[in-house]
Subunit: 224 residues, 2 copies
């Protein structure tokens, strides 16, 4: 989750964001497909060598002009954040599955994804740390959406059973607020049932606490 906006940078217009998404979204999806192929390939050595040369050529083309070391969260002229660099949700981050959260007023925030071999820990199972990663994002997003944004202070995950690779649903909801602390709970669910439960305590850093109102208004579907 992104809380501290990159306030030193000129905000982009919605049209500029749309154009960037149209250009880099499909590229990122292609890279995700390549990553799975890299993991699972049993191709001949000649084909692997040719593939690597193509990958290097593609990276060089993309690097003809590039930004800093991280994409961060960017604010639009519409006051909305786009967290396209986020490791769980980021439209431009190939590490992200990506998860897109839906926030209903009368139920938990939730997202669904198909997790393949790139997220494996024990054979055939989602890595326990990836389960924690998804839950941290879900809990943080739910706190954000409920108007109590914060950074993770404490995260506790209880694993009830292995999370099989395949379709995974993540849910989270704000439980209560105590002073500057938001208590959030969530679960990871597969067709086998509940695989993990989490509780998190989220705290807004002192230096951005005066921005809480602005942050709560900066919400974008799939972005917080």
């Amino acid at each position: 989750m992104s809380l501290i906006g990159d306030f030193g940078v000129d905000p982009m217009t919605p049209e500029q964001f749309d154009a960037e998404a149209a250009l880099f979204g499909p590229l990122t999806d292609s890279v995700r497909t390549l990553m799975e192929a890299t993991l699972m390939s049993e191709a001949e050595a000649d084909d692997v060598a040719r593939a690597r040369a193509l990958v290097d050529e593609a990276a060089a083309l993309l690097n003809t002009r590039r930004g800093g070391i991280a994409l961060g969260t960017r604010w639009g002229t519409d006051g909305i954040r786009r967290s396209w660099g986020n490791a769980v949700m980021g439209l431009r981050n190939p590490v992200a599955p990506p998860l897109e959260f839906t926030h209903d007023d009368d139920g938990p925030s939730w997202a669904e994804a198909e997790l393949g071999g790139l997220y494996e820990g024990p054979p055939g199972l989602v890595h326990g740390g990836v389960v924690a990663l998804l839950l941290d994002q879900a809990l943080g997003s739910a706190a954000f959406y409920a108007g109590s944004p914060g950074m993770t202070g404490t995260l506790t995950v209880r694993y009830r059973q292995g999370t099989k690779l395949g379709p995974v649903r993540v849910e989270a909801a704000l439980d209560r607020v105590e002073g500057v602390k938001s208590f959030v709970v969530g679960t990871v669910i597969t067709p086998d049932g509940v695989c993990a439960e989490a509780e998190g305590i989220f705290i807004l850093p002192r230096e951005v606490r005066h921005l809480a109102g602005e942050l709560a208004q900066s919400f974008h579907p799939g972005e917080g």
Copy 2:
């Protein structure tokens, strides 16, 4: 961490593993470089379109022959596991930084990595869930190395300060064993000091408990 070996598959010889590492290791590194470029590129639309076509061509070459949906953990004729599909350590998994753990007999297990924008949460900071992901692996590996392997039962992470993108060190050590439960502690450290602390309880699944001895002997540097 991988506990349940893919026992149905013929083990590979060390020479076969070496040949595979020499072929697919550099490819995976190239793909990691491409992923960063994909995240950070500000290239012209024509270059992005050409890059995407090259990426698709590379994926097609790699998919001319491929395995199932996940790489899993494979055992060698030497009795050693290779977890090349692991999301944190995997030599063939582009999502993995990758971390390679060193296990000293007279100190904690540890690994160091340079974490860039692909692992970002809040702007300029490592995603809190990625911190949990690295700790889960570190704690699991330390339990494994200490002869008390298990799958994560409970993981608690306390965040002391934001973890800046850049050099990160992860440490973990077995604290104590109570029956089938291994209690493991660990930290994430940057040049700013300790950023997060974790405690995990690891439990070996009943169905593989009789293999505990074999598992403890299957250790490979950077693989457990």
